[in-house]
């Protein structure tokens, strides 16, 4: 019984959904039954372009995230090791941190066109903040005793960076990545909902406009599964790479 406890609330929620769907009080459009959603979910993968749509969304999310990861880690490292650069860039990043970058999307459409480029650019911008801030924080707080001992033992600047600073910062970098990956998913879905002709976000809006709620919810489930798997993959990669410091995997 005790081991089943985590499942109780999930099962109750699903049962409540099914009861509401079958009660007939609400139209099928408002509350499609789990059966209909399941059918659409399976049906989605028999579509000719199913993988293409998934790939389109993933490609945008990964493109933006990858660029942000490369640029963000580099910038954060430089900011963490050089006081001058930090004093110049830190006000820029912390000042505009709370500003929703999504507001720039209409302008990005004009600058980069309505294709993938404007979406990738926006995802890059949104992902850049958490990565830069966490990397900066990590590179700044490297234990000075380690730096001194490395110096004492005759390590060069390059060796100190590679053997001391980078390993010590990696946990922080991954913490930034874990914030950035869901952000990339959110932004890709939003931008595809606002302006797009392909991708999963577009399918959600398109199914809604055709009043195929069951199909829409099937796509929502697919997006949810992708988001969940990406997060799990990231945690797995982190624990492999940073084998000396396990994440508090109580739940997360």
């Amino acid at each position: 019984m005790k081991r089943l406890r985590p499942l109780i609330l999930i099962l109750v929620a699903l049962a409540a959904w099914e009861v509401a769907a079958r009660s007939g009080r609400w139209s099928k459009i408002v509350f499609p039954s789990l059966e209909a959603i399941g059918k659409e979910f399976i049906g989605f993968f028999s579509r000719a372009d199913a993988w293409e749509q998934i790939w389109t969304s993933l490609y945008r999310a990964f493109g933006g995230f990858g660029l942000a990861a490369a640029a963000g880690v580099l910038l954060g490292m430089i900011m963490g090791r050089s006081k001058l650069v930090a004093e110049m860039l830190d006000p820029l990043f912390s000042g505009t941190y709370a500003v929703p970058k999504l507001a720039l999307f209409p302008i990005f459409i004009f600058v980069f066109g309505i294709g993938s480029l404007s979406k990738v650019a926006l995802i890059f911008l949104e992902c850049l903040y958490p990565i830069v801030i966490m990397t900066y924080h990590g590179a700044k707080s490297v234990n000075p005793v380690w730096l001194w001992s490395a110096q004492n033992m005759g390590a060069g600047r390059w060796q100190i960076l590679r053997r001391v600073v980078i390993p010590a910062t990696t946990p922080y970098i991954f913490a930034g990545f874990r914030v950035a990956v869901p952000v990339a998913m959110i932004v890709v879905v939003i931008t595809e909902m606002i302006s797009s002709a392909d991708g999963l976000g577009y399918l959600v809006i398109y199914s809604l406009s055709s009043l195929r709620t069951d199909r829409m919810l099937a796509v929502v489930v697919i997006i949810a599964i992708i988001g969940y798997l990406l997060d799990k993959g990231l945690v797995l990669a982190r624990n492999r790479l940073i084998y000396w410091e396990k994440l508090d995997t109580y739940y997360v």
Binding site: V99, P106, I190, L208, V220, D231, V252
Partner: protein, 237 residues
């Protein structure tokens, strides 16, 4: 600052019409402050973001603290929360539109949903991380359950709760803006959409600047109250 100067200098040399110079943006913004249009839309946006933020963070912090304290509650609720945490909540907007209509209610609820997660998770970890020794010593000195919560658990969890609220605030603005761009008849997101369709670039930048100022002001307010409430934590967030 240097960025602004470079931008202004670049604009003197001629730019495409969709990039305005900072001085032009400032002029348009001041002109817009004189009209009522901007206030109405900014008010409409805040009427969605603030209730959503308050509902989401209050529920998130309360349930998160409860899950952090009571083991059985934690075992029931946490798997559901952590399972759905990496899922982009904005995909629920169309579903909410069906259930709660296309008006403000569905927008407020989706903002609340997005704000719930960071608040819950931070409050949960904050309460769980309370050092056992502090709880034991409080109990030894005869503190009641309520006293232990009010004097030991809550102050210990507050720094993390504020960190969660800061993320929630930024999220509430993003989600507010997204919902308004997808479907709304008022608000700053709608204003930007309208300006985009009408090729009114000046209006677009004005709305952008207004959102930036509101987001920045909200963040400052949160930091200020954090410093007042947590004097022992120091100023930096």
């Amino acid at each position: 600052m240097a960025l602004l100067v470079v931008w202004q200098l670049a604009s003197l040399r001629g730019l495409p019409d969709y990039v305005l110079s900072p001085i032009d943006i400032g002029r348009h913004f001041i002109a817009a402050l004189g009209t009522s249009e901007l206030y109405i839309d900014a008010g409409a946006s805040l009427m969605r973001a603030i209730p959503g933020f308050v509902i989401g963070t209050v529920l998130g912090v309360a349930l998160g603290l409860a899950a952090g304290i009571w083991k059985s509650f934690d075992e029931m609720l946490s798997p559901l929360v952590f399972l759905s945490y990496p899922v982009p909540k904005i995909v629920m907007l169309p579903v909410f539109m069906l259930w709660f209509g296309i008006g403000d209610l569905s927008k407020v609820l989706i903002i609340a949903l997005a704000c719930f997660y960071p608040s819950f998770i931070n409050a949960f970890y904050g309460a769980r991380a309370t050092p056992r020794i502090l709880v034991w010593s409080a109990r030894n000195m005869g503190a009641s359950q309520a006293q232990i919560f009010g004097r030991v658990v809550l102050p210990g969890a507050l720094p993390l709760i504020f960190a969660g609220m800061r993320v929630s605030l930024a999220l509430s603005f993003i989600v507010m803006f997204a919902t308004e761009m997808i479907n709304a008849r008022s608000g700053l997101g709608y204003l930007i959409r309208q300006a985009e369709n009408g090729l009114r670039f000046d209006l677009m930048y004005v709305a952008l600047l207004a959102i930036a100022i509101l987001g920045y002001a909200g963040d400052r307010l949160l930091r200020y109250s954090r410093e007042k409430l947590l004097p022992w934590e120091g100023g930096h967030a």
